[in-house]
Structure formats: structure tokens, C-alpha cells
């Protein structure tokens, strides 16, 4: 696995960890708070969240409603600014949502091409690169279909190809499979895992499906709700390839669920 170390935007000194060719963490969230609104109506969405995500790590974030998961992703994506604290990201960021959010007037390939175009890839190279990316998610045969001619799972794979077309080093996924049926979701778990590792992506995957988190994550971070705080972190020491129905994955999911329920109970009347 070769990783190009890029200069840190925020000026945090890069440190080398022994035994791994990795410098600064891919994402460093340091003491981040986010407040929306002012005065009496202000809402504290995130409260002093600190989190490092290693290069190539697959991090899952789980939490109940109102834990600020999406806010956190927006901060990492640079779509919003933290009220307090800093977010440092190494490399390019791409964001995926629950909806594939493909542009309906563009074909699958053209959607990927737009990402390339906005990255200033020369026109002559776009089509070929887009087809390469689509074959990475095994949709090369559907390059000229429009989004409405594709299934929900296929659309999410086009969205994944588009994210890769952004040249992403860090992939942020906001409940990307929440709207898919169970069979498609299982297969896409395998698929996104494969693509993430092949492409050496650092992934932050937000979900409220604890099993999904245990199936995919190297680590699971549990956020508390209102305000969002890091309530607990769980390692997932389960060998890959994993199956979502395996006892090891289920055991970890059960642990996380117990803790998640505790968090939810704290908000009872």
C-alpha cells in the first residue's frame, strides 16, 4: 500500500507511527463544537468532539437521532465551519448521501464525467476515465443509462464511482444504504468494502444501523445525542471478509446496542 503524504492544510505537524508508512491521520477532528443559531434559540449540535481517523481506516459512526452525525460530516467535507476547534483533512474529500443524488439529465457515465470536469480533467480523457471508474463498481455495461433506468443500489454505485472521480482520499458516507432493501445492502457492503480497500480510501461511514457498523468498521464511534459527544469507541477485531450474520459481528453489534440504548434512555422524560 503506497500512500502519498500531502502537506497538512492546518499546519499540524505530521508524526510517523512505527511500523506503518502513515504520517498525520487522514482526518483529525480536534475539540470541535458546533452551535447553530444565537442566544436563547442556539442549539449545540456537537460538543467538544475529538476524533482521529487513520489513513485507510474504515470508521463507522453510530448514534440516535440528533447526535450531529450529518453535521460532523459537513464539517469534515468543508461544507460548514466549526464554531470551536479544528478539522484537518489530508487530501480530497467526497461525500455520499442516503440518496444517490445523481443528476437526472445525465447518464451514469456523464454523472461521473461531471466530477472529472469540475476537477479540470481534460475533456478528451473524461469519458475513458469515467468508464474505468464505472467498471470499478461493475457498471460498465450501464454507462449510458440514465439514473431513472437504474435501481437504487446501482445509483449508489454510480455515486460511489462519482466520488472516486473526485479523486477522493477520504470518503464520507451519510447513511448511504439506508433506503435500500436488505439483500442489495448486504451485497453493497461487500462492494464498498472492496472498493475502499482497493482504492486505499479513508472512510467515515455514518449509520444508525449498528449491525451495519459492526459489519463494515475497523472501529465504531458512538455519538451521544443533543449535544453530540463521543460517548464510546469500539474496536472491531473481526477478520475480514466478514458476514453480517456472523456471531462475531453480532456480538459486537450487541455490545454497541446496549451502550446506544443507555444513551437513548438518558433522554427519557
Amino acid at each position: 500500500m503506497t500512500i502519498v503524504v500531502e502537506p497538512d492544510r492546518q499546519g499540524v505537524p505530521a508524526t510517523t507511527q512505527p511500523g506503518r508508512d502513515i504520517a498525520a491521520p487522514a482526518v483529525r477532528i480536534a475539540g470541535v463544537s458546533k452551535r447553530f443559531g444565537v442566544g436563547r434559540n442556539a442549539v449545540l449540535a456537537l460538543d467538544r468532539v475529538s476524533l482521529d481517523v487513520e489513513r485507510g481506516e474504515f470508521l463507522c459512526i453510530v448514534g440516535a437521532s440528533g447526535c450531529g452525525k450529518s453535521t460532523l460530516l459537513n464539517l469534515v467535507a468543508g461544507l460548514d465551519a466549526a464554531t470551536v476547534g479544528s478539522v484537518a483533512v489530508q487530501g480530497r474529500v467526497a461525500l455520499m448521501f442516503q440518496e444517490a443524488a445523481l443528476l437526472p439529465w445525465r447518464t451514469a457515465a456523464q454523472n461521473v464525467e461531471l466530477a472529472l470536469k469540475l476537477r479540470k480533467v481534460p475533456r478528451a480523457d473524461r469519458r475513458e476515465q469515467a468508464l474505468d471508474l464505472l467498471s470499478l463498481v461493475r457498471l460498465q455495461d450501464f454507462a449510458d443509462r440514465r439514473p431513472h433506468e437504474l435501481s437504487g443500489g446501482m445509483r449508489q454505485r454510480v455515486a460511489l464511482a462519482r466520488a472516486l472521480g473526485q479523486g477522493a482520499d477520504v470518503l464520507l458516507m451519510d447513511e448511504p444504504f439506508g433506503a435500500l432493501d436488505a439483500i442489495t445492502r448486504d451485497v453493497l457492503h461487500d462492494e464498498v468494502e472492496r472498493v475502499a480497500f482497493e482504492q486505499h480510501l479513508t472512510t467515515i461511514f455514518v449509520t444508525h444501523n449498528v449491525r451495519e457498523a459492526a459489519r463494515l468498521g475497523d472501529r465504531i464511534v458512538l455519538l451521544s445525542s443533543r449535544p453530540g459527544r463521543v460517548a464510546a469507541t469500539f474496536g472491531v477485531p473481526v477478520e475480514r471478509p466478514r458476514r453480517i450474520e456472523s456471531p462475531e459481528v453480532s456480538a459486537i453489534a450487541a455490545d454497541v446496542t446496549v451502550r446506544l440504548r443507555e444513551e437513548v434512555r438518558r433522554h427519557a422524560g
Binding site: W105, L118, S151, I183, E198, R240
Partner: protein
């Protein structure tokens, strides 16, 4: 994370994905082109036939004398003869020129106002509701003022046509831009599109179906205003479809009158279905928004 992960279960995953893809895809067969055209055409022909039948029935019952309400056949033969006169085509040409100029000016003005309103909060508050007000105002109510301002002239007609069509066009643009799904703007933003690029790549294409509806409505309003104008503003020495209606009435030429009305109707329908219908069809089909596709 183990390095062999990427290679081990590849084939299985490959098969599962392609299996799912095949299962999910719709298997709607496309119908033959001739069959498609026929199925779109026959209800229209049937409707026309029904109208002619009712008309003929009323004529047979002799509700009104023949010289006031002629039969479809009489009108048809007058129309057929008219088709070979330069007079009719000169009138059609003049009317169409007015319609095109009027629509083009409406497009410029309505477009500029619509874009200005979507870009600025102040403009929206100031003229947003005024545009809707203008849209509901019957264009014929503008004619007295138009005639005062421009006398009996082409400008008077143009003035009213533009006032009829421009608000619809502006409104189409405004609601088109308003209706762009926020998720698409957001995705454009995450892809790095800002400002004009965001407009070119996301906002304008996403707004297109609604903008088209506004254009279509704008055309309908401009065509109506134009006919009202041609009836009221008779410019000596020029002929037009409206003028033909007016002269036919003055000479109690019922066949000629209804024949001219039919021409006006046919032009309105043709522009609507051939010009706007085709564009709309293309735009909607490409987005999967047509329910009656295939």
C-alpha cells in the same frame, strides 16, 4: 485489514451484483413506432370527429339559419378554397411574424426579470407577487391604455402581447429555480461547482422542465393576447388572422369566419404540440419524468 481481502471473494460478489442488476432492471418492451403514433393519434381524431358530429347535428336541427351557422362541410369547402389564396397565407404570415416577435421580446424581458428575481431577495419581495398579479390580469384590459400610448399601431399589439406572455415566462423561471431539489445543489457544491458553474451544471438543467412549462404557458397567453389585439387594433392596409375574423363578421360571412377560427385553432395546437410538446417530451423522457413513455 488483511491484504488478501480484495482478491478472495471477487467472483462471488461479481455474480451477486450482476444478478441483482438484472433482477432490478425493468423489462418493459418498447412498442413499435407506428403503433405508438396511432395510439397517440386516434383519441384526438375521435375528439375532432365528435365535435364535428355535434355541430352537424345542431345544423340539421336548424337551431339557427344556415347563413349564421353553416355546416361543417360548407366551412370545410371555404377553408379548402382559402388554402389556395395568397390572401390567407399573407394573413397567416403577418400574424405569425407578430407572434414570433412578441414571444421573442417576452422571452427577453420575462427571462431577464425572472433571473433577476431568483438572484436577489429584494427583487423577489418587490416584484415577485406583482408578476403573479400581472399574470392573472386579462390582457384585453391593457388595450385601451396601449392604444392611448401607441395609437393604432404594431407597437400597441406588441405591448399587450408582451404583457400577456412575459409574466408567465418570468414565473416559470422563478418557480423552476425554486424547485431545484436542495440535494442537487448540495451535490454540485460537494463536487466543487460554485457560482456560475453551479448554475450551468446544476440549477439551469434542473429547472428546465418547469421553465418549459412557463414558456408553453407564455406562448398560449401571447397567442390569446395577439388575437384580441388583432381584433381591436385594425391597422389599415394590413391583413392578419384577427382582421379576417373582423371583416368576416362585418360582411356576415359565417363560413369565412369559422374557417378563420379553425385556422387560428390549428396554429395554436400545432405550435403547442409540435414545438413545445416535442421539446418537453425530450426533456421529460431523458429524466424519466414521463409516465406515458415507451
Amino acid at each position: 485489514m488483511p491484504a488478501d481481502l480484495a482478491t478472495a471473494p471477487h467472483d462471488r460478489l461479481d455474480q451477486e451484483l450482476s444478478g441483482l442488476d438484472q433482477l432490478e432492471l425493468s423489462t418493459v418492451a418498447h412498442r413499435q413506432a407506428s403503433l405508438r403514433i396511432w395510439s397517440a393519434l386516434w383519441p384526438k381524431l375521435f375528439a375532432v370527429g365528435l365535435v364535428l358530429a355535434v355541430w352537424q347535428f345542431v345544423v340539421w336541427r336548424e337551431w339557427k339559419p344556415r347563413f349564421v351557422l353553416p355546416s361543417p362541410a360548407d366551412v370545410g369547402s371555404v377553408m379548402w378554397d382559402d388554402l389556395f389564396t395568397a390572401e390567407l397565407w399573407r394573413a397567416v404570415g403577418h400574424t405569425m411574424r407578430r407572434a414570433l416577435v412578441g414571444f421573442a421580446v417576452s422571452l427577453l424581458i420575462g427571462g431577464a426579470v425572472g433571473i433577476a428575481v431568483t438572484r436577489s431577495r429584494v427583487m423577489r419581495v418587490a416584484v415577485g407577487s406583482m408578476i403573479t398579479g400581472l399574470q392573472t390580469m386579462p390582457s384585453i384590459a391593457w388595450f385601451p391604455l396601449a392604444i392611448l400610448l401607441f395609437q393604432i399601431s404594431e407597437q400597441a399589439i406588441l405591448f399587450v402581447v408582451v404583457l400577456g406572455a412575459a409574466p408567465s415566462i418570468a414565473n416559470g423561471i422563478i418557480s423552476g429555480v425554486d424547485s431545484v431539489p436542495p440535494i442537487l445543489r448540495r451535490v454540485g457544491h460537494t463536487l466543487g461547482a460554485r457560482g456560475l458553474v453551479l448554475y450551468r451544471e446544476v440549477v439551469i438543467p434542473a429547472a428546465m422542465p418547469t421553465v418549459l412549462t412557463g414558456l408553453k404557458q407564455g406562448w398560449a397567453f401571447s397567442w390569446r393576447s395577439l388575437m384580441a389585439g388583432e381584433l381591436l387594433v385594425l391597422i389599415p392596409g394590413t391583413t392578419s388572422l384577427g382582421a379576417r375574423l373582423q371583416f368576416a363578421r362585418e360582411f356576415s360571412d359565417a363560413e369565412g369566419l369559422i374557417a378563420s377560427m379553425a385556422v387560428i385553432f390549428v396554429i395554436g395546437v400545432l405550435v403547442d404540440s409540435l414545438v413545445f410538446g416535442q421539446i418537453e417530451r425530450r426533456v421529460l423522457t431523458s429524466r424519466g419524468l414521463r409516465t406515458d413513455a415507451h
